[in-house]
Symmetry: C2
Subunit: 251 residues, 2 copies
Amino acid sequence: MSGSGWIAIAGLGPGSDAMVTPQVTEALAQATDVIGYIPYVARVAPRAGLTLHPSDNRVELDRAGHALQLAAAGRRVVIVSSGDPGVFAMAVALFEALDNGPPHWRDLRIDVLPGITAMLAASARAGAPLGHDFCAINLSDNLKPWDLIERRVRLAVEADFAIAFYNPRSKARPDGFAAILHLLREACDDDRPILFARAVSTPDETLHIVPLSQATPDMADMRTMVIVGSSRTRLIERTAGAILYTPRSAA
Amino acid sequence: MSGSGWIAIAGLGPGSDAMVTPQVTEALAQATDVIGYIPYVARVAPRAGLTLHPSDNRVELDRAGHALQLAAAGRRVVIVSSGDPGVFAMAVALFEALDNGPPHWRDLRIDVLPGITAMLAASARAGAPLGHDFCAINLSDNLKPWDLIERRVRLAVEADFAIAFYNPRSKARPDGFAAILHLLREACDDDRPILFARAVSTPDETLHIVPLSQATPDMADMRTMVIVGSSRTRLIERTAGAILYTPRSAA
């Protein structure tokens, strides 16, 4: 075991290289190994001395253990996430593996390098819907009971947060988001604005802002960020596209 | 009025240039005018052809109107915020001014360029306390009633969100954060971990993680990000400093 190994858990941002921070670029330049989900590793240019380890979805803990073993053997490992690694991404899986792994792993240097998370990229493209108090909820029920998700959404509406939904809908979970829209319709006015921001900053980017009454489940997939405005969120109509923002004043 | 003017509302991140995105750097290179709060404008290097317009705190709407006037006159204007401009920062003020200003302002090109917001920089330095569902609450009551803030904090605890507090305490508001700590003690266990992350990524950076029972109001000031864990948030003790993270599983 070498003392020179390290792990950086790095956020690549939403898609465009123009949103990758210099410290992430620098970590990738120093790495011997890059680990992550296939489409994120595909964003890293191959070069001599760098081993790419793309892996499938839903193997986060295996990936984390692999990274820790490589770093313990003296390798310089970057784990890549899209967005920010600390928001519904690889940082937590790494720390779960560390928490439950051999004690010598705790001597490793581990840095989390933040990135532009999906909700902030989506918010920026649409205006500033998260400009006032807000919350972020992962709609995947792989690791938490669905009841808890619905309970959190109800309390978030009661608190009048703007709400950012990560992982709103997938082929494996086609119905949950429909239930969330139903719940929102019971709790909010028909004209509450909802942003569907898909693949922000990539060539596939689309943005749609609709009132709650016109939102349908098929407007979201796994590449979509959904942001529900608070009761105060407003639209500014423009020829160049509407702007969605939440005023600072809550009175 | 020239058609070539534009406004970019840019996030400079928490302090280190290593966290400024390339698109923000590029916008600053193309700007004729930079507008913002004095310490943020001070982060932009002077150069020929660039006019810096530093202004005092709490003049957000004046600053926004000034930016819109300059852009309408054909200037290329960057409004700088620390962190992310869409999170308790200048993007909302700009859109408030646009919403209430002359119609021709709506023809201007306006881009929001996201940045690494304080809570994500703080979370990354401490581990991944925001790795599960979370909310962000601004504790300044300049523009909202204090009752609403307390109500939101109570509902956030009930939803078992991790909670990021922006602007926890200032000289003008010395007592609010003490009231929040009191409220948290009524609702949470004594050992609920709280992160106080001050001036992250700057030479003044300090990090403290304490149990709720040991948290005191003077641990926070206006440069401090406060993150309260959820009921699931855990500590990993290490020689190199404890890691704070919130597991993905909520069961």
